[in-house]
């Protein structure tokens, strides 16, 4: 904080008629004692004395200069009194010069200080504010309901959000060791640099606890990659949105749900992590339904779709580990997915029967005659998983067994075949047996309550370069 020198201090700017009016007085003041003049805009003004250029407005900001000219009297480093604008009696009193400005009008109001210019406010706050928060402040009137005000500003996903006060955002930022000013990624569609602080603001709004913040950040890092193609995921008319699968001991530490109703409501970590990601895309990235988001129907998961795997019970190993993350590390995998589809089989008693049954259901999404172009997440339940575990089927074995059961003859898949217009182009007719999923296109996960002979399929959007690929990111604290 810049200290003011003892004596008289004036803060002026050239672009102020009143400052121009009083400029000749500074020569008189300098002659009688200590005077320092700070100029906000033009260092050659005033001509009457050698001014100090407050170029970065540090002096003006820290000493609350709202009007120019401001005249301050300083004793032993402490401000004793000040006057703003030109008021002859006041200037005479403060300076002790009885005839100061006798030939000037009695008073003239001053002009706005550059350090309170509304266009500069956020820049100066980022530059100087000791609270470390750079975001623009938005004030709600006392008589205004902050929850209604946030709805009106379009900051919500249709549900109320928690007001992101500076205090709450500070608390949220304690959940990460990253600096608030760190840039996490660039968010589509507006391609805005996303600071940790902005993530924290949206995480507060979502209802996250501070310990969830690193998960939200990791998910956004994954989302904003070219591979995931969030812009495409937003713009598509298909119903997909980000589906976040969480792995690692950290999921247990923050109390995520991998059990009963794991894909549903009720768990704060599951619900708010997914929600914070979506709010960030909406508010920072500018991705909103009816604007860039053109989904025909969408799906309820676009509010939030985030769950943890039941790693203790899984015969398949964590999804993240299968995608290259070292065992025991916390990680998120983000997938462009639609709503979950329940796959019922309450009678299979062998893994082969179950695999055949699941394949018969999986082959239909998103259309029985469309293959290779869409990925999917399989969520195997504990009751179904038991059959595979007892037979010693691991991830690779399950994928292989499903794959062989999912093959279809290309001749049956071409457009028009079976009276169905949809399908593969006619040129595929002689391609022979085709896989349902491309290599690596089926992501096996394990979660759910202990009872229920059902598994879940989460089908995806178009994959590859024209669509979206799943992305896995390690969580950093």
């Amino acid at each position: 904080m810049p200290v003011l020198p003892d004596g008289l201090v004036a803060v002026v700017k050239r672009e102020c008629a009143t400052c121009e009016l009083v400029a000749p007085l500074f020569a008189d003041l300098a002659a009688t004692g200590a005077l320092v003049v700070y100029t906000q805009d033009d260092p050659t003004f005033p001509a009457s004395v050698q001014a100090v250029h407050d170029a970065d407005l540090a002096v003006s900001w820290h000493h609350d200069i709202e009007t120019v000219p401001t005249l301050i009297r300083v004793v032993d480093g402490v401000e004793v009194e000040r006057t703003v604008g030109w008021h002859r009696a006041e200037w005479q009193r403060i300076t002790g010069i009885d005839d100061l400005g006798a030939d000037l009008p009695e008073m003239r109001p001053g002009c706005g200080s550059m350090s309170v210019d509304p266009d500069l406010e956020h820049v100066l706050r980022a530059r100087f504010a000791s609270d470390g928060l750079a975001a623009r402040r938005v004030e709600f009137a006392t008589a205004e309901d902050p929850f209604e005000a946030m709805f009106e500003r379009g900051w919500t996903d249709g549900l109320p959000v928690v007001p992101p006060t500076p205090e709450r955002v500070h608390q949220m930022l304690a959940g990460t060791s990253r600096a608030a000013t760190d840039v996490v990624c660039v968010v589509p569609p507006d391609l805005v640099e996303l600071s940790v602080e902005k993530v924290a603001i949206n995480a507060v709004m979502a209802g996250c606890r501070p310990e969830y913040l690193p998960w939200v950040i990791a998910a956004l890092e994954a989302l904003c990659t070219d591979e995931f193609n969030m812009h495409g995921v937003l713009a598509t008319t298909m119903p997909v949105g980000p589906v976040i699968v969480c792995n690692g001991p950290g999921t247990r530490a923050i109390g995520m749900n991998a059990g009963i109703n794991a894909l549903g409501q009720g768990n704060r970590a599951n619900s708010t992590i997914g929600r914070a990601v979506q709010l960030t895309v909406r508010n920072v990235g500018g991705g909103r339904p009816g604007e860039v988001d053109r989904a025909t129907h969408g799906n309820p998961g676009k509010l939030s779709f985030c769950f943890a795997e039941d790693e203790a019970g899984s015969p398949f190993g964590p999804l993240a580990q299968s995608r290259g993350v070292p065992d025991g590390r916390d990680a998120v995998t983000v997938f462009a997915g639609e709503g979950p589809r329940c796959m019922v089989d309450q009678l299979a008693r062998t893994p082969e029967e179950l695999a055949t049954s699941l394949a018969a259901m999986m082959v239909s999404q998103p259309h029985p005659k469309l293959v290779l172009g869409f990925d999917a997440i399989l969520v195997i339940s504990p009751d179904h998983g038991r059959l595979f575990r007892e037979a010693g089927w691991d991830r690779d074995r399950l994928l292989m067994e499903l794959s062989s059961r999912l093959e279809r003859d290309a001749a049956e898949l071409v457009r028009g075949h079976g009276g169905i217009a949809e399908g593969l182009p006619a040129g595929f007719a002689d391609a022979g047996p085709l896989a349902k999923y491309r290599s690596g296109g089926l992501l096996v996960t394990y979660a759910g309550g202990g009872a229920g002979l059902f598994s879940t399929l989460i089908s995806g959007w178009v994959n590859g370069g024209t669509g979206s690929d799943p992305v896995t990111v390690v969580v950093t604290y």
Binding site: E66, T67, V84, P109, G110, G112, S113, V116, P118, H122, L133, A135, R136, R137, V138, E139, F140, A141, T142, A143, E144, P146, M150, W155, P163, P164, T165, P166, V169, V187, D190, V192, E197, K198, I201, N202, M205, L279, N283, V284, G285, G286
Partner: protein, 91 residues
């Protein structure tokens, strides 16, 4: 008053855009906001006379200082009580 941090990219101003000017004052309540510059009240008194003569209703308000934007509570009060606003600016 509650202060929150802006969750957006801040590419748009926090305030909303101006509405279209109405074609007549019928049915409107006009706020006359004195920004506390000397003799602004004199000017607004005259404006009030003319608005009332033209068929409009007037409510008077005053900012504590011209050096800062109107306090948010005052803005909210005007927004809930009136449909149009005129500020007296300059000297």
């Amino acid at each position: 008053m509650t202060t929150v941090l802006d969750p957006t990219s801040e590419v748009r101003p926090a305030e909303r855009a101006l509405l279209q000017r109405p074609r007549s004052l019928d049915g409107h309540v006009v706020a006359l906001l004195d920004i506390s510059k000397p003799r602004g009240d004199v000017f607004l008194n005259r404006v009030e006379e003319r608005i009332v003569a033209a068929g409009g209703a007037v409510k008077r308000y005053r900012k504590p200082t011209f050096t800062k934007p109107a306090p948010v509570d005052l803005r909210h009060e005007i927004a809930t009580q009136c449909t149009l606003v005129i500020e007296a600016l300059a000297d």
